[in-house]
Amino acid sequence: MTGLSPQQLIDLTYIVAAVLFILSLKWLSSPVTARHGVLAGEIGAALAVGATLFNPELVQYRWIVIALIIGAGIGVPLGMVHMTAVPQRTALSHAFGALSATMIGIAEYYVRAPQVTKFGMVEIGLEVIIGSLTFTGSLIAAGKLQEILPQRPITYRGQNIVSLSVLGTAVVLALILVIHPAYMKLFPAMVGVALFFGVLLVTPIGGADMPTVISLLNSYAGLSAALLGFVLNSKVLVVAGALDGSSGFILSVIMCKAMNRSFTNVLFGAFGQEQVAAAGHVEARPVHSATADEAAAILAAANKVVIVPGYGMAVAQAQHKVRELYDALTKRGIDVKFGIHPVAGRMPGHMNVLLAEADIPYDKLLDMDVVNGEFPQTDVALVIGANDVTNPAARNETGSPIYGMPILDVDKARTVMVIKRSMSPGFAGIDNPLYYLDRTLMLFGDAKAFVGDIVRELGGTHQ
């Protein structure tokens, strides 16, 4: 066996990196091994980047080093954001990933053009279109999550037709470039139209649909990286892109199921529309309300409490007060668990991260399927800032727009307490029959302040 060429050595390093990436995700399956997973990923990435710097084709390094330093300079603050900002940070990183893949695709086009093979042009066209729409779509999503842009869905008549024709235009331009490689001027137009489509894709989507959108954009970002791997014939990109793409795909499917939306509905970006027609009849029915000291007395008498957090808890920044409540109840020997709906919050797993940040042990955070088995033996279900995911109409009102959506069966607990600002309906605009049950007590007020009041009544303030 003769010696290895530098290129072969680099390729072997890439294989090691790809294996480490797979191990990295494998170890993420449990919180116990998850941090090894991060280390494996870091080693793999460092090996791949290090090996690439020895690529004999490289003729200039200065700007690469400067770009790496600037990238690290942007990356560190983005890695240090507060946990409540994680959804917008994630959307922004989808945008950066897609930007990077798109820039490389465009650069590769202009290096080759007009001598682009038909097949090469198909790959570049697809890569650049998906990358571009993911870039702008993710920026819009980040803007909505940061509340720079309105969170409510922005819709108009004939929206889907307009959006799909814009996408169609981008595809047609790509096809013309495949057939007539000399029409190079069409390439920037194709990029521009694809960028515009990304804006159209995400603008109509409301805040509560963000978990699905973020997962979908995750999948697209992975797909664009994998396609870039096809363009450049780089297996390590194909592997990393396929892993990222399948992760986003799985999360999108989970989010869709948790909202009872069909997958085709999501793939065509036609979501965020139904709720316009969903405004149900809101009648003035009597509800039972309670004060903080009444709520504290009921909680103190319970043996088993399940807390159901939602986006409202995140908005009110109430997670640390919830932790104090958890401590106060646990100290009295009360069994406290958390029931987490897959779409609670603004991204998959959002509530878990917020509660973990507040130092709540993760073995107390239960998935919907597990916790639903526990509600019948639960004395108090305390709903904090969640609405539609607890709506029993999803279970038994066939006419309800959310009928069929899996929910947390809080109404099976002996007493239900709901902390809510007012009686206004949730995101889907649907009245929640849960609030009118005899066993339900409405606790009107700001989540953080109200939980704080309950903790004070329990005499369990922070020591």
Binding site: S100, V236, L243, S246
Partner: protein, 98 residues
């Protein structure tokens, strides 16, 4: 159809399959770190960006490559950093320090 395409497709399908099998085992508890970790891994496009920038074929390709190096490397650094920060917060009742 170029033979490179077939071999890349081969890798893509196998990697997608492995990804599917591995990721479906990730607990919903860790779905947020999963997304930030896959983001960091996806930032491996930085290697392609380095090559495009470093070859210095045209001014345009170098400039685009440099932007891509910065964007993807910030994802790589930030993605690993935040994933590790999040995972450090996940503690059981026993290991929790009071």
């Amino acid at each position: 159809m170029p033979s490179d395409f077939i071999s890349n497709l081969f890798v893509f399908i196998l990697a997608g399959f492995v990804g599917f099998e591995v990721i479906k085992r990730v607990s919903p508890l860790l779905h947020t770190p999963l997304m930030s970790l896959t983001n960091a891994l996806d930032a491996i496009v930085v290697v392609a960006a380095i090559i495009i920038a470093g070859r210095h074929e045209t001014m345009l390709s170098t400039v685009l490559g440099i932007i891509a190096v910065g964007a993807s490397f910030s994802n790589m650094v930030g993605g690993f950093l935040i994933t590790d920060r999040m995972l450090r917060m996940f503690k059981t009742g026993k290991s929790k320090k009071s």
